[in-house]
């Protein structure tokens, strides 16, 4: 097994603000080791590259430098410049080249440095990768992954062009799968699944989570795409969340447990296709729902989840759904106006109290 590398000090990678004990996914007795979200992604890439010679990486500065966040660091030394391929700053051709390679039997994993830059690649991702199989009547498949860091973090964001949460850009496109893990365990298992999947997968990494740690099994495992994961069982209220917001939901659940409020946390770790059944089943059980997303409010993922709840569990609702999201604004820079931009644990606690007291 590869040695665990010390995480690089890179843009936006900061100390974790939450304890790994908050989300434990490996049962006692299963051989596991603690690693960061960033290391888990790196290990998934490494293991898939060792397993399958058709897997290769391409992206800006992903070679010796290891990418803007150091995710691919050490892979270049292990696999060389052919399979860890540094590209010019050409986002559309990074994505398009991944498509072309995928069409002829490779399994490329492209990295776009920040999701914010993917506007330059969106034609290839949304118009070409997503539609090629359909518009050729099933003549081809496009097994590729586009990895993109996204999102901000408390007091650590890097303003309007490096901190957005843009999962709905891609979730709105039929033919794409969109994955957004919240933990090291999920990041590794879902990335391996994404690489093995025969469809184009947009794999979003919450960059504030890169340093977050958790237990990851030592054995090979793959998690299913297209499923929500119930991170915490509860009976009074369902919190639907993804990415970093799952940690706030879990922290809120732990806090309110002491007051006798039982919170179920549903992690939408695959944004699309959306596992409507798990969300519906949970809210039919609890009768109350809070939806929490880091993306901005209008037309965002939280709105979609709320609508699923209305369709799946309207008759069971005991209170109106509460929606917590990023503020409908470009991400600001100064701490004073960045504060409150994204929901935090206290916001989730207040929202839960609100639906409980309706």
């Amino acid at each position: 097994m590869a040695t665990v590398q010390k995480d690089a000090v890179s843009l936006g990678v900061t100390k974790p603000t939450m304890s790994p004990d908050l989300i434990v996914q490996v049962p006692p007795g299963v051989p596991a080791k603690e690693m960061s979200y960033q290391e888990a992604i790196r290990e998934a890439l490494r293991e898939e590259m060792l397993r399958d010679p058709s897997v290769f990486l391409l992206g800006e500065d992903i070679g010796k430098h290891g990418g803007a966040f150091g995710v691919t660091r050490t892979l270049y030394d292990q696999f060389g410049p052919e399979r860890v391929r540094n590209t010019p700053i050409s986002e559309n051709t990074i994505a398009g080249a991944a498509i072309g390679a995928a069409l002829v039997g490779m399994r490329p994993v492209a990295e776009i440095m920040f999701v914010d830059f993917s506007g330059l690649a969106i034609d290839q991702i949304a118009n070409q990768a997503a539609k090629l199989r359909f518009m050729t009547g099933g003549q081809c498949k496009v097994p590729m992954v586009v990895r993109m860091p996204q999102g901000g973090g408390a007091g650590k964001s890097t303003a309007a062009q490096h901190s957005q949460s843009l999962e709905v850009w891609y979730a709105h496109i039929p033919g794409l799968k969109v994955v957004f893990p919240s933990t090291p365990y999920d990041a590794k298992g879902l990335l391996k699944a994404a690489i093995r999947d025969d469809n184009p997968v947009v794999f979003l990494e919450q960059k504030f989570l890169y340093s977050f740690r958790g237990l990851v099994p030592e054995e090979d495992y793959v998690l299913p795409l297209g499923k929500c994961d119930v991170k915490h069982q509860g009976s009074d209220v369902t919190v639907v969340a993804s990415g970093y917001m799952v940690w706030h939901a879990m922290a809120a659940a732990k806090q309110l447990e002491q007051e006798g409020i039982s919170v179920e946390v549903v992690d939408v770790c695959t944004i699309s296709p959306l596992d409507e059944e798990t969300i519906g089943r949970s809210v039919r059980k609890t009768g109350r729902a809070v939806v929490v997303a880091e993306a901005v409010r209008s037309y965002g993922p939280a709105s979609e989840w709320a609508m699923v709840i209305i369709e799946q569990a309207f008759d069971y609702l005991k209170a109106p759904i509460v929606r917590l999201t990023g503020r409908f604004s470009p991400v600001p820079f100064a701490d004073s106006i960045e504060k409150g931009f994204w929901p935090d644990t206290e916001d989730v606690v207040q929202a839960i109290r609100k639906v409980m007291s309706y």
Partner: protein, 319 residues
């Protein structure tokens, strides 16, 4: 490089096949039987045929919204193509693509991509895969002249050149991007000069002359196959029809079109075959008659084929 009699007759056959196919498609369109649009390749036949005759079956092409000609030149079945244009289940894309998206993976056609320049990065990626696997295959993206101002094009030429990928970028200058003359969208007249910025050969050839296109393409393809990197091949011709069938063409004079039509590559090559004793009149006429019959059969096949079953509307979205 010797060009055999058989090859020349095959070139003529494919050029006539493209012409007859396009005329039939326009006819169906004018009779209201084709939805959407037909972007005819009439006048440019020598470009696609000259290039594709220099390719092997396992080499790949990527096309544009105007790619009936590229597909036929690469060997696609005209029945399945015509059926696709009419939106039939028997079409190459089972009626999901239509005229602008014909792909024939069995002949090495990765598909027609109707966002200008989009095929460039995809062909670059296919060529990268060939190189990574040590295969001697070549990828050939076709683009119209207007495509050379897209980011796709510049990014793609650059990436292919820095990695010496086996790509032949065919830039078909038909003088117009929809209504805009290339002289109004590019400062330079010789578009092959752009190759210099990427440190690769740029070749400009008469796109009405199938033998000249073939020779130039052959050289570029062999260079790519040897691992020496990409070439930019500019074929100079003219779009005889409007941007799409029935388009009013308010931006150009009829006289201009008539003047260019004198350069028609098909009568020109026919004369060449006769004058150089490659074939006699009855042999050439036989090819024309066979192709006419083939296209008539294709139209009949397409018209008689069923549309996709509505129950299959959600098929092929995910693998």
């Amino acid at each position: 490089m010797e060009i055999t009699r058989e090859m020349m007759l095959e070139m003529y056959r494919r050029m006539v096949r493209i012409r007859e196919f396009e005329l039939a498609a326009i006819d169906l369109f004018k009779r209201g039987m084709v939805k959407g649009a037909i972007h005819a390749y009439i006048g440019q036949e020598a470009s696609a045929v000259g290039v594709c005759m220099a390719l092997r079956k396992d080499d790949l092409i990527a096309g544009t919204h105007r790619s009936h000609g590229h597909n036929i030149a690469k060997g696609a079945d005209t029945k399945k193509m015509m059926a696709e244009i009419l939106g039939k289940e028997t079409g190459y894309c089972k009626g999901r693509g239509g005229s602008m998206h014909i792909a024939a993976f069995d002949t090495g056609s990765l598909g027609a991509l109707a966002v200008v320049g989009a095929g460039i990065p995809i062909a670059v990626g296919a060529a990268l895969a060939f190189k990574l696997r040590g295969e001697d295959r070549v990828a050939v993206p076709f683009t119209g002249d207007a495509g050379c101002n897209t980011g796709n094009w510049h990014e793609g030429l650059n990436m292919a050149s820095i990695w010496d990928l086996p790509v032949v970028f065919v830039l078909e200058n038909n003088q117009y991007g929809v209504s805009t003359r290339i002289t109004n969208s590019c400062k330079i007249k010789d578009l092959s000069l752009r190759a210099q910025s990427y440190g690769i050969p740029g070749v400009r050839v008469d796109g009405f002359d199938v033998l000249a296109v073939y020779q130039a393409a052959r050289e570029a393809v062999e260079r790519a196959r040897r691992g020496e990197g990409p070439t930019l091949l500019v074929t100079e011709s003219y779009r005889f029809e409007g941007h799409y069938a029935g388009e009013p063409e308010v931006y150009r004079d009829r006289a201009e079109v008539q003047e260019w039509r004198k350069k028609d590559p098909i009568p020109r090559f026919r004369r060449y075959l006769l004058e150089n004793g490659v074939a006699n009149e009855s042999e050439v006429a036989a090819i024309e008659a066979e192709v006419k019959q083939e296209i008539a059969d294709a139209v009949k096949f397409a018209q008689e084929s069923p549309q996709p079953d509505p129950a299959t509307a959600m098929d092929y979205i995910y693998a």
